[in-house]
Amino acid sequence: MAPTAESKGLSQLRRGALEYCVLALLRQDPSYGYELVQALADVDGLVTSEGTIYPLLTRLRREQLVATFWQESEEGPPRRYYKLTAAGERALTDFAEEWSRFRDGVDALLTSSGAGDDHHEH
């Protein structure tokens, strides 16, 4: 199997999931860009280029899933904070349901085919 094909599929998955991860982070507390990037970068394999979070935030705002406001910071200039909108909350809830169904389905297939292989080897 070509490794590029695998990483392409993974990067598509990552890309699709990333915006909901951002929404999920914002459900807890409003945060500013750099804070979000750090939180996401802590999740292994989720973010490859940290810079792509910023256009993602712009897009989420354009789609009105997040809103922004300015707040003073102790260090440096005021920061743009992002918070979840009602539409964003709804999108996140919908995705969470879909995701658990999707994940369970994929997991079931992956483990059952693995079990099948084991069985065959016996």
Binding site: Y34, P55, T58
Partner: protein, 383 residues
Amino acid sequence: MTTMNTDPIVTDYLHRLETAAAGLPTDERAELVADVSEHINSALRDARTADEVTVRNVLERLGPPEDIVSETTGPGSMPPQEDVRRDGRDIAALVILCAGFLAAFVDVVVGRALLDPIVIAALAVWAVATGHVAWRVVTRSPRGYQGGSLEIAAIVLLTAGGFVWAIWSWLAGYVLVVLSDVWNTRDKAVVPLVTVLLMPLGWAMTSPWFGPELQLRGAVTFAGGLGGLLGGIDLSWRLVQVRHRATAGGARRRWWLAPGAVAAVVIGAAALAAGPLGDTGTQEACGAGCGPATTVDQFARIRLAANRQDVAHGLGMPDRTEGRWQWGPRPDPHAVQTQVPPGKSQYDDCWMYDLHTASDNLAHGAICFVADTVVYTDIEPAE
């Protein structure tokens, strides 16, 4: 919200980002660059060091600027209705230019029978721009975010248009400025800001002799004309910057550009006021007795002359609905002095006029200035 990244590696990275983002709407582009710039600052602050390895590491984690920009469009692409909207605005620009040109032509050239070379030059620029915009609309040239017909129309109306029709042209030009995607909020604020700031100056330059209403009108005309001119120059400058950034590989820091532009504007305005706009003929005729007029003073005089119907109205002459003022060439002020009231021996400037309806000459006369004050008027019935 913008912080200074002085490291050349960082500066270069941000320039690449700006170049790559040239296709984005101005606001989004500025926001993206500001966000990434702030990210770099925060990351370097956290690292507590800014040596080259750290900086390169931070930039590597951010990823190539081109990748960042390509993420803005997301899984889908830019909304296609954007283009339709821009087409509509180009047509709006064309309609405003055409209607304004016709109205200005009828009012200024036909109505006042005025053939001032400056007015003709301004109308010519206006006509050329209208043709250009029409061509772009007809051929459906892509406008992009680098500026096109709408921006050119706006600049022409604000600068050249001010010499013909200060207030209307200002309004039409500014509508187009607001519609544009190329200029950001800061750019859009400059024209009204400069205009408002010039109001007190215009008020001071217009003689109180005309009464508060006409003085206000004079002030608005002066501020609109000069504010539109200066603001238009600033907008052209910003447009050139945007285009340069989009075509060349990102603009390098050119420290001399800002002071150079200011100097060019000042020299240009001074040359304009002293040269083609200036009242050189009268100066010569005035001889040694005339004090040197400042350039601003001369500009005010021009504006006053552009408003001469109102001046005449202020003199208590027949309302403009009863007849039209036709202004002849400026005579030698010394020649006018034959009719001068005693004690008044010197004028800075004099204008002759004919008052007539479509068929009859009603009267003719003269109006003379010392500095900005009208000191002599004369009217006598035509034979």
